[in-house]
Symmetry: C2
Subunit: 220 residues, 2 copies
DNA sequence: AGCGTCAATAAACGCCTGTTCGAATGACGG
DNA sequence: CCGTCATTCGAACAGGCGTTTATTGACGCT
């Protein structure tokens, strides 16, 4: 429900919604992404935003609701980008895109967010954190909202209709693991391990590498 | 340091170390695995263990130290199993095992722990949780202790000496993502998505699937 | 002009947290 | 049988937490 999107907020006066709410939203996303949900207090957030302590509860109801609202918005944005790319891939290929293009629609959006020049980097970091340490409500959404993933599963099933469908599901599962592995801590460890050989500077190069690996796993 | 292992504890009287300490250790591991570190209070632990509230601080110093001690022990056990399998693979192959055997040494131990008939299942769930929501101390260890991974990286570099080494590092990175994806929440989502087609009942079948996928990604 | 609504503020509330303290307990060795 | 020491115990502490309340200010509308 409530698919109407309002980039700023959801006031009746559509313009210039309370600047305080935006300040809280941004400060919370930043701090949650950097330090985790449980390690950031409402006082930390309001101090960072430069607003009153009660603002969180006034504008969002509770700290939990604030987290969920940020999560909901960012997840929606990411899913939309992916769905759009999958749709375009279908248009280009008479409704039946090859595996590589499906995987590109899955990989490219979060990788673009990961780009240091992108101010969405902090949003991706937030999403990763929320996914693993989120509240029960978030975990519930993640577990049940398969509708988004189902589109990709169906596309892959069509592209590899020669395989048993369970095999396709498992491979999709592995591929999703590759994405979530691109966390900042894990990337750091990789850089240490390779003694600086690997760099994440060029997102396009990383995307190509991931696609090569995943496509090889699928083409067999 | 302190590589001397004592299965029970580290008392001067080597036998029958305080049963309370073991009770706390087990209860804490269970609760941390099920609900996360921050969501479990010292009171929860001592209640579950049926011991006095002060036991945690008396035997472990602090709640943080308790977490770290559990993490240290389980990590050591897992790494040892992996190192042993890698060593055996090297023995079988004149010191230069093929990719698939290296990956087997990496995959098999945690998958065996995952088996429902294995009472180590809870330990694996604990490790997964600690990895993602652990304290700064744990994250520090994970990021800096590359010595364990280095053995696998070196083996892979030898097996695929025809590839640029950075390529090998990236592929190892992807492969590690496949492992960490095998979290319980993610598995649940997979089962929902496939409408029950996928089952995790047989660990050996899952291992074979993972090896097929990962080996394909490496063989190119 | 005055009313009503929404936003922001300072202060406080009650609860839960990890940790500490001093006393009590109990087993063991001399 | 007594003294010792590690362990257990009940109780309390100080601090941080999310949330609530009452009050004030600002703004648009009739």
């Amino acid at each position: 429900m409530s698919l109407t999107d309002d980039p700023g907020a959801e006031s009746q006066t559509p313009e210039a919604e309370a600047a305080t709410k935006q300040l809280v939203f941004n400060a919370a996303e930043r701090l949650f992404a950097l330090h985790g949900f449980q390690n950031v207090s409402v006082r930390d957030i309001t101090a960072e935003a430069g607003v009153n302590l009660a603002s969180v509860n006034y504008h969002f109801g509770s700290k939990d609701s604030l987290l969920f609202e940020i999560f909901r918005r960012r997840t929606q944005e990411l899913n939309r980008e992916r769905a759009r790319m999958l749709h375009e891939a279908a248009d280009r290929n008479a409704g039946k895109p090859p595996v590589r293009e499906i995987l590109t629609a899955l990989f490219a959006p979060p990788l673009r967010w990961l780009d240091p020049s992108n101010d969405r980097r902090i949003s991706l970091q937030f999403l990763i954190r929320a996914r693993s340490e989120g509240t029960a409500e978030i975990r519930e959404v993640l577990g049940s909202d398969v509708s988004h993933l189902k589109r990709f599963a169906d596309a892959l099933l069509a592209a590899r209709s020669d395989l048993p469908s369970e095999e396709v599901y498992w491979r999709l599962h592995f591929v999703l693991g590759m994405i979530h592995q691109n966390r900042f801590m894990e990337l750091d460890r990789l850089h240490v391990l390779s003694e600086g050989l690997t760099r994440e500077g060029e997102v396009d190069a990383l995307l190509a590498r991931m696609l090569d690996f995943a496509e090889a796993g699928f083409s067999r």
